[in-house]
Amino acid sequence: MNVNEAINRLKAIQPTTNACVTIIEDDVKTHEGVLSDVPIALKDNVITKGILTTGGSKLLSNYIPPYNATIVDKLKQAGGVIVAKTSLDELGMGGTGTASFNGPVRNPFDLTRQAGGSSSGSAVVVAAGAVDIAIGSDTGDSVRKPASYVGVVGTKPTYGRISRYGIIPYASSLDHVGYFTRDVRLAALMCDVLSGQDKMDHTSLPYPSTTIAPSLQDNVKGKVYGVFKEVLEAIDHPQTLKHFDAVCRALESKGAIIKTISMNETLLRTCLPTYYIIANCEATANHSNLTGVNFGLTQEGADVETIMTNTRTHGFGPLIRKRFVIGSYGLKDENQDKLFRKAQKVRRLIVEEFNRMLNECDGLIAPATTSIAPLLEGANMNVLSNAHLIAENYMVLSNFSGAPSITVPIMPVDGLPHGINLTCKIEDESTMFQLALAIETCVKEGL
């Protein structure tokens, strides 16, 4: 895939999928490297110097940044060419791809369905064959769930492994840079390209770039795949379960050990409310800088206060306003102990329990979602059911704990893409890609 082919393909899929905010036709290679002349798409919350960066929000729909995110410079130094800024749920806050200022993103395999979110457009441009690499961000599962819905590899390395300097934030204690690729080997290479300490990001891990791709193998003899018991029990779709089991049997035939591992179900059911409180509270604080005074789509007003109010009223969508109200409520002095701090304490207990599970295996696996991508109008699930609280939202465990996590596509369910999620111990991306490659190999070999 060369740059011109990518641009043509992006233009071709845009009317049906709405995957892009901006298609970039004038970027050129500035360096030689492992990604020389490789077309790359960026989620539109990645800051790009001189190129519109909206964050999916009307409030930023005129924002031309004066600097690059660190990962943009890294991609350019590796020879990459930026060909698109992709659609996302506003400010990364949403899991459907339907809450962007520029309209909903559609799943290329069934245009009546979601592509998932919030990294919707990035998932779609890889799935539709327009690019081989697209950057996303993952605060709850915003790379790994869309990857399952469109049948591509979605990776989120360890918290801090990839610099977040120049990424429009959502919730700082949960935000990770992630990315989509067509296969696991390229995912490993991208970890090598994007990782490494960045002094511009004080949450960046103090290590050099990884060097995983050159020696990546799919030998999993003696490796222990932990099967997430409660997630499996919360899924009632027969084909999802059948395909997952088939992959486990194939891994066993390669010498891997399949071991069922259990998590305290009461704690597991608190993941979603814990996330909801922490994410909304952090987002409310993070986005207080969007005032329209220094940048953004400013609305006129007689005084500064009125300018800010008019700008934020006009610029934020209803979903964002709702989340900010909830976050602001949780941050009020009288509510912090029973909501925000309570959620942070529960998070610690959840992470301790999750790390115990990860210590019992080399990698923990489960179906990434209960089934295929929901219709655009959304899924109709009982919010207190285990299917919703556990099977549809367990991947947030990797955001709570910072553990590296990857979704690998397996066999279609009901004729549409579906994937397995794999999570490993923090900083152990090497094992993660090894175990993921074995899953991919099993599927490619027809199990």
């Binding site: 924002y63 031309i64 940044p65 004066p66 600097y67 918290y159 801090g160 204690s173 002094k199 511009m200 004080h202 949450t203 960046s204 103090p206 009461t266 704690l267 059911r269 608190t270 979603l272 409310p273 909801y276 409180i277 409310t284 005074v293 220094n294 940048f295 953004g296 007003g301 007689a302 005084d303 500064v304 206060e305 300018i307 800010m308 109010t309 934020r312 009223t313 306003r321 709702k322 900010f324 109200v325 909830i326 602001s328 409520y329 029973k338 701090r341 309570k342 959620a343 942070q344 304490k345 529960v346 998070r347 610690r348 207990l349 919010v383 207190l384 709570f400 704990s401 910072g402 923090i426």
Partner: protein, 104 residues
């Protein structure tokens, strides 16, 4: 589900509007109704948090303890030219972001 009294949120329209005012945005009537309903639904989820004993547990504010770079020398590492810093401002004058007079 019976909710523990500690999680009950008696949210009403006036409280929603007050929060929105603090956040510097306005809400439509339908948005207010939607948010009140959201708070009612939220209580069922928050009740789950209440079931967890967190006595003696400290807050987790980041995923893990790590030798992160939290301090650095006070040296200039990069600069943003004034013209570029002001390039997205709604109004700029004499090298500053310009806003309506605060003190009349």
């Amino acid at each position: 589900m019976t909710l523990p009294s500690s999680t009950l949120i008696n949210m009403n329209k006036d409280m929603i509007l007050s929060l929105a005012d603090e956040l510097n945005f306005s809400l439509s009537e339908s948005e207010v109704v939607n948010i009140v309903n959201e708070f009612h639904s939220l209580q069922e989820l928050l009740a789950l948090l209440e079931t967890i004993d967190t006595e003696g547990v400290s807050e987790m504010v980041y995923p893990f303890e790590s030798p992160l770079l939290t301090l650095r020398d006070d040296e200039v590492t990069h600069e943003l030219p004034q013209s570029e810093a002001l390039s997205n401002a709604y109004k700029a004058k004499e090298g500053y972001v310009s806003v309506p007079k605060v003190v009349k």
